[in-house]
Amino acid sequence: MTDVYVKAGLRESATFDRITINEIQRAADTGIYDIRGFGAKRRVPHFDDLLFLGASMSRYPLEGYREKCATDVTLGTRFAKRPLKLDIPVTIAGMSFGALSAQAKEALGRGASIVGTSTTTGDGGMTPEERGQSKHLVYQYLPSRYGMNPDDLRKGDAIEVVLGQGAKPGGGGMLLGQKITERVAGMRTLPVGIDQRSACRHPDWTGPDDLAIKIEELREITDWQKPIFIKIGATRTYYDVKLAVKAGADVIVLDGMQGGTAATQEVFIEHVGIPTLAAIPQAVQALQEMDMHRQVQLIVSGGIRTGADVAKAMALGADAVGIGTAALIAMGCNHPKWNQDYEAIGSAAGYYDDYHEGRCPAGISTQDPELSQRLDPVDGGRRLANYLRVLTMEAQTLARACGKSHLHNLEPEDLVALTVEAAAMARVPLAGTNWIPGQGF
């Protein structure tokens, strides 16, 4: 169709392209901003803009199938009596029951447990399905405190204090009425069917000094057993990381702007926060200046899709990564087998992002009992475990090629950038040069 118009001499505006025109007309029709799930869809500098320098004369590689490249990671070594020991450095990010079906939460737990990594609760509390199937479960402590109770706090293997997320730093959660079923409403102490507006600030502390006292309380309540994570959306990352470390964090969870969400305003997703690639070096610099790099662990999320992304994030200084959107895709989100159903609701496989509507054909981002049944938690868990294994093996492949016997031994010196922007953000040289923009010649 486009070719027909182009051949006819019609020219599309770069400023007012068809997506922009459609949004203006949608806004005029409805009078309300667009709400959707998923993450940022705009192109930003990312891990694709980096390349590894494999071993050569000056480095020797490890044998791909014979020499060990370890993948284990321990999170929370700073203060917690019981740090979290994971077999692989790819964790499952926080996603709520409510946003996701109980089957999806169970599948996340099953998949993560098979490969020895952790999964994370979300806004709305902990479900028995999730706890029962998760060997390592991180309990999120969010501004809304929906479903938050000390019994579940003690059941968690770590506590993640959420200050923000990459998709919407500065914004609270949102769960529209279609998904506030009786069970979800009961867990959150809300009326059934309302459009839930989560708070964006914690109700009983403000600022880093208060946060230090809040962390002290959480440690006291759990008898100093649990690692305390602090999750931030990537914005003023250098300063936020320093303040989080000063407040007493064991682990920093850094979520870049490509990180996913179950629901928020499109304008928020696309226009707030900085790319993951730009955030990691800021966080690492902050940690290094405080002599806390590797003492306070760094988990990076937001746009992790492949083992190459895992390896590159770790080479830049992350101790582990987190995945959310990719985990859902692995379980069947946006799968072509549901294309007819996607088209019936005005979307298509590969484009679906209306998680907030609760009509997910794959049975993942829904509370509809019939749709939820489409996801078999055992099968979903197996698919997720397969995917996590692939991520890990891909990362090991790259690490061995760089001569590393542990993923943690990857370093910025193993990387170059394909673009000036990526070089400046990641603070690695432009390929074929010694030039890191912003650091002189």
Binding site: N149, P150, D204, W205, I213, K214, D223
Partner: protein, 227 residues
């Protein structure tokens, strides 16, 4: 009675001792001396204990309380009884901001005044304040009852869900979606019961009731100005 002097022992020792009672309650009565504004005193309790704190406490005193009865003979810092699930917390003096924030159950009694955001995001707790409360009290309050025997500051009950608020004195202003509602017999009865449990002498007929207009429960273009 077990006595802990925080001039000589740590908050950690106190809390560990109190937490150990959850598995076998061998010391039901505790006396805490010289709290001196320390934070996180007697938080995370989960046993039928009676804890008397002689003095002022810092942040999060009796936080996440379950079952225990905690009495603070002084003023409380920020977030007293935050996220309480059950039991009783009594503050003989005044309470700082965010008292009983997000609490799910139990009863918080503040015999003096409570500062801003008293009962913020409360989820089922009952709160009785002998004096006045500060601004933004009961903000996004979801369930439970807040009783104010004095005055209420600005934007009381903003974005309220299903919590009920009773105020005896003046209300500086109501927040979005919070309205005055008629006092019916069942409300007088529940208020009388709450005042009795709190040990506060006041006439339920002197109070006004406030609750949610439920107009903001769904996103509507017409409500844009309210957000």
């Amino acid at each position: 009675m077990k006595t802990i002097d925080l001039d000589h022992q740590s908050v950690r020792e106190l809390n560990q001792g109190l937490h150990d009672q959850a598995s076998a309650c061998t010391e039901p009565e505790w006396l805490v001396l010289n709290p001196a504004g320390k934070h996180a005193i007697a938080c995370g309790l989960n046993a039928k204990l009676s804890v008397d704190i002689q003095g002022h406490a810092g942040y999060y005193c009796a936080g996440m309380n379950q079952q225990a009865s905690v009495t603070l003979h002084g003023n409380a810092g920020q977030g007293v009884a935050e996220n309480m699930m059950s039991g009783l917390v009594r503050v003989r003096g005044n309470a700082s901001q965010s008292a009983a924030a997000t609490a799910h159950g139990g009863l918080l009694v503040v015999e003096g005044d409570a500062a801003a955001r008293c009962g913020i995001s409360m989820k089922g707790v009952d709160i009785v304040v002998g004096g006045s409360v500060g601004h933004m009290s009961a903000f996004m309050a979801q369930a439970g009852r807040l009783v104010v025997c004095g005055d209420a500051g600005e934007t009381l009950g903003d974005s309220l869900y299903e919590a009920r608020i009773y105020v005896k004195g003046k209300v500086a202003s109501l927040g979005a979606d919070c309205i005055e509602k008629p006092m019916r017999d069942e409300h007088l009865a529940e208020l009388r019961e709450l005042l009795n449990r709190a040990g506060i002498d006041a006439n339920p007929s002197d109070f006004r009731r406030y609750g949610s207009a439920r107009e903001l429960y769904h996103f509507k273009v017409d409500n844009a100005a309210a957000y």
